[in-house]
């Protein structure tokens, strides 16, 4: 409870006494490029395989001859868009971006770089953290869209290669009963996850005390706490929005 209060106070300092718009804008672009470049490959690999595995497993479970094979395509689409793409991507990003944010801020804290900013009269929390959060809010949904596309593609390739269903059947399944709101839902989730991961990791990194050992600990804690927060939020979103 006390930690939650401190966390909220921390978020408050981000928006109080900020730097000029131009500086924040430039910093945000820098951070966004960093997140995008650092994460796109791992997100692509993970989501392609997730789509492939989902497809193969569904076809393994779907032995009833009365159900058309195109159902496999339909189910891959539903599972990846609704759950797997946003959630698995966010968990991967919690490991990649979360540890990066916490490690970077922790190092700046223990090497007095944050103090150096404060002495200059710069609101270090706002200068360092706000761009990271905004950049995450921008980039996570984009990465999730990439993940959706690639996991459906992964399912397509796996389905064709394993002979579980033909390309036509897969596409037919993809096109049946499409609900656009599901994509909106997934993007809302990715916004929520982006905020949770970046703010929790920033909070833990920014408040690191001690030395290199503690920076490592803050990094680890950022990843585990972010993942737990993502899973809880995932459940809440499903409950509230579906």
């Amino acid at each position: 409870m006390k930690t939650l209060g401190r966390f909220l106070l921390f978020l408050n300092t981000l928006v109080r006494r900020g730097e000029s718009f131009r500086i924040l804008f430039n910093r945000t672009i820098d951070e966004a490029i960093l997140i995008g470049i650092n994460s796109v490959v791992i997100v692509a690999i993970v989501s392609t395989f997730i789509g492939a595995v989902t497809c193969v497993q569904i076809s393994y479970n779907l032995t009833n001859a009365l159900i058309p094979r195109s159902t496999i395509g339909f189910m891959v689409r539903e599972m990846t868009i609704l759950e797997l793409a946003p959630t698995i991507t966010s968990i991967v990003l919690a490991g990649k971006v979360g540890s990066n944010i916490a490690g970077g801020l922790g190092t700046m804290r223990i090497t007095e770089q944050i103090d150096a900013l404060e002495v200059m009269g710069i609101n270090s929390a706002s200068y360092l953290v706000l761009p990271k959060i905004i950049a995450s809010l921008l980039m996570f949904p984009l990465l999730v869209i990439v993940a959706m596309t690639l996991s459906i593609l992964g399912g397509y390739v796996a389905g064709s290669l394993s002979g579980a269903l033909s390309a036509q059947e897969y596409v037919e399944g993809l096109r049946s009963e499409f609900i656009p709101y599901n994509i909106v839902f997934a993007l809302i989730k990715s916004f929520v996850f982006a905020f949770l991961i970046s703010s929790i990791s920033s909070y833990l990194g920014y408040h690191t005390k001690g030395g290199a050992l503690e920076v490592g600990a803050a990094s680890t804690k950022a990843v585990t706490n972010s993942i737990i927060a993502v899973l809880i939020a995932d459940f809440v979103c499903a409950y509230v929005l579906l």
């Binding site: 090497t111 007095e112 103090d115 150096a116 200059m120 710069i122």
Partner: protein
Amino acid sequence: MIEIHNIQKSFSGVKVLNGISGIFESGKTNLLLGASGTGKSVLLQCIVGLIKPDLGSITYDGKVFTNNKLDLKQEIRRKIGMLFQGSALFDSMNVEENVEFPLRMLTPMSKEERRERVEFCLKRVGLENAGKKMPSEISGGMKKRVGIARAIAPNSRYLFCDEPNSGLDPLTAIKIDELIYELTKEYDITTVIVTHDMNSVMEIGDNIMFLHKGNKLWEGGREEIMDTKVPELREFIFASSLMRAAKKVDEELGSLDELSTIQNGREPEGEKPQE
């Protein structure tokens, strides 16, 4: 000139600063001397506003810093430069960008003006060729120089240094001390230096405050410090055999002087020698 009055600070019930008062004059190197853990860094952090003291006031050239409006605080902060113990260079920026950073953030200078100022400052600290290097590629002494250049770049009126020569070899340490000393005189800066190094004291100690367990026990210039009667300070100074030897030589030279004056037929002034 910076005036501090009755600065007190406790951390979870443990008193670290026990009511410190004093004046730091401009154009002088003011040293905060003391053993490790006596609260020197905490006092410095209180003065620059990184830590809020529990009690006491700090004024910069008559302007109250503690408990003042944010605007006025920011105005003072823009004139503060600080050299950190580990230099605290921004490791995502190269040397030039580090020195330019406060100019970009705090002054309305144009790009061209900033470039000139950066060049000037780097030259002044003797690093004209290192501008494109990253902090991880330069030595500890060079990092300190960059730290100094960054601290004075926005024409700072106040310079704070936390153990500026810790972790440096003796020769580099003296060079850094001398650089800080020269800059202080050149630009009439109010400089406050935290140190536990007697070499620095003897080289550049215009005004020295000796701190012990959160109290100020002695204050004076480097000429007077060897003659102090404060037992804690004597213990601190003569902890090193080098300083003991220096004292001995000093005394022997002193008695030689006296001897020669006696031989010249004049009585030595002041106290008679003990032996």
